[in-house]
Symmetry: D2
Subunit: 446 residues, 4 copies
């Protein structure tokens, strides 16, 4: 990973999806294969032991192997050669019955397992922050906004609860995808396991056991739907992070000012403007999500792999799935950082809700009038009051009180109640509870 | 749908994702809302009845409503106006407590339900054709090919079984996505259900019941992960269809000639070349899949929707999800057509496997030598025999018999057996059985 | 085009990229081919005349031809058959020496010519509106904003000038692309023009003349770089429109309020909220741009077309390039509508610039101090003053006047001047002039 | 760049688009700015000299600066701080009047200049190889193939000439894009150059001179159309490389065998199959092109940048444009490697053209009959002969000679001539000449 990419990733995920770890997991495959074949009676046990010993990653030169891979076409070819040399006499049994892609793909699956665990932890951390905000700001009034226009009162707790629901669903979806995708690849050169004669599927089962993976219905060298499904799910996670980050950037605009990045962070200055406190984490979350989303179509577009192993489509996965994981992790981490240090300005939220002209209470007025007048007539009266408020520069409440039609339909004390946004929050409280309960169920299940 | 798009879709899916059906489903939402609110005691029952009656689709002018929608910003606005007019006195209660997006999104979900049912049926049809091919050609030898080079013998039955496994997994995945995505949208203007006071969630539950949908944890106006997950899953289906179609195009090349489009189809002539029988269905499957895949990033890229309702991202879904369904359906239908009429030339498959020089048996030779010589030495001997076969223009079998090192390791009768591809099919048979069983389990479950 | 797509397109562009017009332009190709071949002595002149007469579009049934095309694989096959029937005895000479793709591709190029002319006109209209805004608001102060934070004073005229520069560059780029892409396709079935013997290139030249197109270096049936370049350029236009629309949506937020959609438009109400005036045109511009951008990777991804004519990649263009044109046109038209009716609130711009705490003048303060103190020391002093302003709830100007370090470096009358944003506009005026001059040069050249 | 990416790039381009070189070019910007400002009388000349001296890249710790950048939000902030420290007293004048994005963007433009030069050289090298193939194989007969079906005879020289035309157009297009994109970025914090008072544009002009870049009409901090146009052009280059690589993979299939990767390369073995010689370079060209194409929508999707500097869209460019250049370069280099070592089997080309049944001459037969019978009747006769050839397992020539209708229309000696593919190459020779001339014109112009 180039330094530039570090801005959009995390060190942990970069390690999981590094060339070094890919090599390490390929060696884990070769070691597990030897063990499984010894258990199946295909290899002498002592050969398996020697191979396992030779699979120590520190014996191999990653950069040199990749240079050879560029000519050979896969990393497996030089690696198998090097491992054979390392294994001494047991070299006769290295990679027995397997093909390059068996090793490459299974190694990727092992990396995916590590990567999904990191994302799960990351999403749980984001969720915990959202949950805390939802509880703390259950009653903090603010504007709901549609098409970036003030709409109705909501609470910041409800907004955080919707983020929370979103995050909870992502973690759940990734767990389901893990069930689908954490399978061994083992088919031999053309998917028949012919090189193992009658032992093929027995070895396949034992190999999966050794690695703690499931066994798939069939080898999947050129049927990459699991990779595609994984890509789609990660893309949705990245998009979900972008949704939260986008909200934070918008809420933190100078003219909105409802949230701000943590002051203590020392983040977000400007080389020219001394007053600046830019939303650095949210900005990089957005950028990371864009990078992540860019990888998804590469993986989906590569699904049409030719015959029993592709020329181009498979190889394109090698540097795309890692980048997708790395940048998705970057988005998750940056959203977490933004939320964890978030300063919430409840006063500004209340003030914005009251401006301009308290128009955000227009639907409340409509619905107060509707039972008496029907919704269409109520809507028209409320709309006229809104226009008057704007033209006269007064509050919608005053405009309503000055309107004879409205006054005829509503007693004055009802008006006071209508215009108190605390009374127009509908089911917000229950919805917050639902989001909290959903997250709790997730975070207490394995 | 323009005529051009008909080339890449099916009439059935075009109907489901037409403007007409969207309007019809929005009316279904409004009718169900009225019924649910009457059941909840929010509306007078007779008002609900009148609204339900007014929701007859034939009363509305689709084109005119869309023209108004282009100014209003949503179809719901002119539709609610028109429905209010149609409902007479009950117009006072139309769309009570709902927002435009509640109606739009729920209508889309109802269309998605129809669309997923069509895709399920389409995939089952493709699967049935694959299953038949897998059984019929269980023993039909052909070349397995990696990087478009002959690799090892497989059977056409195994190839069809791998397509079958792929198709089975797609149908299963779509069913899981259906569980996730078939939820009602109901939150009112800012997701609080405030306009319904204390009745919001009761109405939400009844509304979901009326429509046969599930109730989500929270309204999801600007949290579009379900749409994103759906898009990803459909993209994988399209990619899976492209995989099969790509294989068919490659197998049907003039120089390969192992399959051909059905002769009776009258398809695939040329305006210039009288000898042509182009793989029209496979070609359009590939093109349809490309169109489908192009929609996925639009939907994923639109996930970052602002605040409580987006300006741009949501609207972009309106014509993208329909196109994704239509073109995915086109890909499925075209693959089915291609497979259903497929002519399989087993003789050509056998002949290709024998050419050039029977090199596809090189791994078999290696693995026959390996137990005696170790894999590396066996590989080198087999490689030398391959080179000799090419240089001398002889069959690998002959080259092997002429090699003293090989002869020393293998008795002559063993060689005969080694070079019979029927003896080098490994676990093919069991893998075919697994694919058939998986499909059977799918097609007999609801 | 389905009604849904009408929300994201224009009727004019929809006509240009309709199935009807595609057929019409294919007939234009066949007519021009007959004329060119008659001029080259390949066809009898009277046969050419009869063919030209038979090319009247109203004689053909678009829907029926597309139904046949779905089986045949191209529209050209049924069309040539129908045209042959229409041409009577001259039918013997129809489509002489051409291949389906010659007719299909040249028809698309003719549609592209019409489409680019519409886009040019559309961009000129957008440019004229930007130019008017740039002139009218040359001195209208507002906040420049970076990362959505207030940064420095600019003028709304400068913002409009930057939009104008962007639009001017798009129109120029499209004109350059037109030079590249408006070429005839004519190569016969495999690009050799073999069916015309020695006359191939002479016919090619005359055909290009007849159609007013340029002649390419070589036929380009499977080398689609021109289509790719066109797609890229249209994508940039769509992205440029999104940039302007995004700015408009942000400037029109309730809390910013610097622009508003025209009041007279009757656009942008809400089905639930009577106070709403949503930015409908800008919103649909953003959505249209998303749809357009989604088509670009489909076209770029289809560049790898096989051999002399592709199976899948070419066909995918047929419904993608039209959609790209239609939705790009939608984005341009919606941006124009948004700008043409735009209400600009100069008072609100000035008020926002002064808030919060006049911090937008912090760089001005820095640069006033820098010549005396060096930039780093000046930056630190200004930063401290900003912090004081926020903490004490005073204006930066007051905070500066209260700072002994600043007072020592700057005389009091200098401070007054520093904090007048009119004096901190740098080269804005000249930049506006440049943008206006660039647009004038464009709009007066053909 | 991770080792994995080395498989899809070149070391030269990796160096140009490395974090190190980005830093180096940012320092080049700061040095040039100091020089320009000294020339404009804004800075003391000795300060400029000191700053220039401090801009030696080896003084800076790239990794440390990137770590700070992750918090600060741009690399410019820690770099300006470090440079200020390095410059001693002249630190007072570092980065005078500039903003972070001025330095970042101009550095990228300088990298782009280097990157485009590498791509130009790479494309010229590919072109030279294509030109040599076009000349050498001007008369090497082979099948033209449409929809992967044999169509007509062409020559391998013509195929190479079409690749050559494609490559020539790419190099030309990149040169045009260079004219557009190689412009300085200089606008100060909000694009007004206010910090430089009246000197802004004079400094801008001198800065551009110092760096050998053009001056743009306006600063372009949030108007990224040039980046978008560059992305589009690079995407087309990548797609063009994929087209050539795809053809090579298809021509090299076991059953086609018309080309093969160079034997001496030691490339493309298999870990399981000793006979394998996989098309490694073409495969990695295809994969690299997929990675490159994946970056384009990220850059186009980022065009909608907010106000005067974006939060997310701009930052997403930082690691996307570099990857686009790196992987495009990988595709170009791999295509060059594949072509430079290509083994062409003219005998196999001729043999494939004759098979199956010599049907590739069917259009020749049609066009020989057409002048006498009209095209439709000729087409039907030829089609019938094709069918007979297939059914009877004879050559089309024999089938034609056996057909009384054909015999009546054509004398026997004409038939001999018709079925000699050398006589059915149309304008191939002239088209080859055109492609060669076009490339010569390109490669001799600067």
């Amino acid at each position: 990973m180039d330094e530039t990419e570090t801005l959009f990733s995390t060190p942990e995920m970069a390690r999981v999806f590094s060339a070094e770890n890919h090599l390490r997991q390929m060696l884990a495959f070769e070691a597990a294969l030897a063990r499984a074949e010894a258990r199946a009676g295909v290899l002498p046990p002592e050969a398996a032991e020697a191979i396992v010993a030779a699979c120590a990653p520190e014996r191999y030169d990653v950069a040199a192997l990749y240079r050879e891979a560029a000519r050979a076409g896969t990393l497996a070819i030089p690696l198998v050669r090097a491992l054979t040399a390392q294994a001494g006499e047991a070299g006769d049994y290295v990679h027995w019955g397997a093909t390059s892609q068996d090793a490459e793909d299974t190694a990727v699956v092992l990396q995916v397992r590590e990567g999904l665990a990191l994302l799960d932890a990351g999403l749980l951390a984001v969720g915990a922050t959202c949950a805390a905000l939802a509880e703390r700001h259950r009653d903090t009034l603010m504007s709901g906004r549609t098409l970036l226009q003030q709409a109705l009162p909501i609470t910041f707790g409800l907004k955080a609860a919707r983020w929370l629901g979103l995050v909870t669903r992502q973690a759940r979806r990734l767990r389901r995808v893990a069930d689908e995708v954490l399978v061994v690849q083992f088919g031999g050169a053309a998917g028949t396991l012919a090189a193992l004669g009658a032992h093929g599927l027995a070895v396949s089962t034992l190999l999966a056991q050794e690695l703690g993976l499931a066994e798939p219905d069939l080898p999947w060298h050129a049927e990459r739907d699991r990779i595609g499904a994984l890509a789609g799910a990660l893309g949705v996670v990245a998009g979900a992070m972008a949704k939260i980050a986008q909200d934070l950037v918008l809420l933190g605009q100078s003219e909105v000012g409802e949230v701000a990045p943590g002051a203590g962070s020392g983040k977000g200055g400007s080389s020219a403007m001394p007053q600046k406190r830019n939303p650095v984490d949210a900005t990089f979350a957005l950028a990371s999500a864009r990078l992540a989303l860019g990888q998804v179509p590469v993986l989906l577009g590569a699904l049409a792999q030719e015959h029993e192993r592709a020329a181009g489509g498979w190889q394109a996965e090698w540097d795309t799935l890692p980048r997708l994981f790395r940048t998705t992790a970057g988005a998750v981490a940056r959203v977490h950082a933004a939320l964890a240090e978030l300063e919430v300005d409840a006063g500004r939220m209340a003030a914005n809700l009251a401006e301009p002209h308290g128009l955000a209470m227009a639907e409340a007025l409509t619905m107060a009038l509707a039972p008496r007048l029907g919704r269409p007539a109520a809507y028209r009266l409320a709309q006229a009051a809104c226009e008057r408020a704007v033209v006269d520069g007064i509050d919608l409440r005053e405009a309503a009180l000055a309107d004879p039609g409205i006054r005829a339909a509503l007693p004055e004390d009802a008006v006071a109640r209508i215009f108190d946004p605390h009374h127009y929050l509908g089911s917000s409280d229950t919805l917050i509870d639902r989001a909290l309960a959903g997250f709790r169920a997730l975070s207490t299940s394995p």
